[in-house]
Amino acid sequence: MNLESIPLQAFLIVSSVLFCIGIWGLLNSRNAVRVLMSIELMLNAVNINLMAFSSYIDNNLIQGQVFAIFVITVAAAEAAVGLAILLSLYRNRVTVDMESFNLLKW
């Protein structure tokens, strides 16, 4: 191997795989907590993408890192509100099964 650094594509492929695993978990989980965990996985994949681009393409201004910090902030807020919604759902339905949350089903 006579490369001088890790190629950008390696980071992008890792983040693509992580994002698709997150989507699969989001679609297939029965437990509502696991759905929230899948969303966190997808947000992390996006963050890896932002950080890789900021390091390889914008390595002087590093605006991608600032964006990643904002994404982390929003993810923290999302986790707090999501788990609060989950708790009040659990209090009303006494289950965390995603199939039973069908009040808005057509």
Partner: protein, 199 residues
């Protein structure tokens, strides 16, 4: 970064394997508690990937916010709602699995194709800011990203108040059987679930 390139490759391989296998474990494992702890491992490895990308500040923020706050919050939520329940079987579970898996694999192949075929305009490593990235992030946050920074603080305040309002349990002001006022600081009366046994 001043680590030898072979070391960087080894670190990258190990970290990405941990990320991908851990993420698979998060979505596939039967026990939700194992999933939550694996999620912590995935977050730590992502922080390691950030360190490989010369971003020490974001790596520290990742460890503090994700491992220290989000993961702990998820584990607390699991402890609060972790009840053994027999899930109702779904009739068309097999076709659902097939459809969702094929959608995910199609999306994955599309993304990987874009990653590999696109010509990225890489900037030269000479003007890289390297280890000074924390200073540059501070400059950004207090000059051209000042407004988003302040809006983020408002967002966090809103999320905090919203979480409290949503998760609060209605507490009765007086005891039903005796009529005496209840010490509200410690006692929580559980109310009847509103929507149970509807279907």
């Amino acid at each position: 970064m001043s680590i030898a390139i072979t070391t960087q490759f080894i670190c990258f391989t190990v970290l990405s394997l941990v990320v991908i296998i851990g993420a698979l474990g998060v979505v596939l494992l039967e026990s939700i508690v194992y999933s939550a702890f694996l999620l912590g491992g995935v977050f730590m490895s992502v922080a390691g990937l950030y360190l490989l990308l010369n971003a020490s500040f974001v790596a520290a923020a990742q460890v503090l916010v994700y491992v220290g706050a989000v993961n702990v919050l998820i584990i607390f939520a699991i402890m609060l709602v972790n009840k053994k329940e027999d899930l109702k079987p779904i009739n068309d579970i097999k076709s659902r699995r097939i459809i969702s898996t094929s959608i995910c694999l199609t999306l994955l192949s599309l993304l990987i194709r874009v990653d590999l075929t696109n010509v990225w305009s890489l900037s030269s490593p000479q003007n890289s800011i390297g280890e000074e990235s924390t200073i540059r992030i501070g400059e950004h946050l207090f000059s051209d990203y000042l407004l988003p920074f302040e809006v983020a603080s408002v967002l966090l305040l809103m999320a905090m108040i919203g979480a409290i309002v949503l998760a609060r349990r209605d507490v009765m002001s007086q005891d039903i059987s005796t009529g005496l006022p209840v010490d509200q600081e410690l006692i929580e009366k559980s109310s009847e679930p509103l929507l149970t046994n509807k279907n």
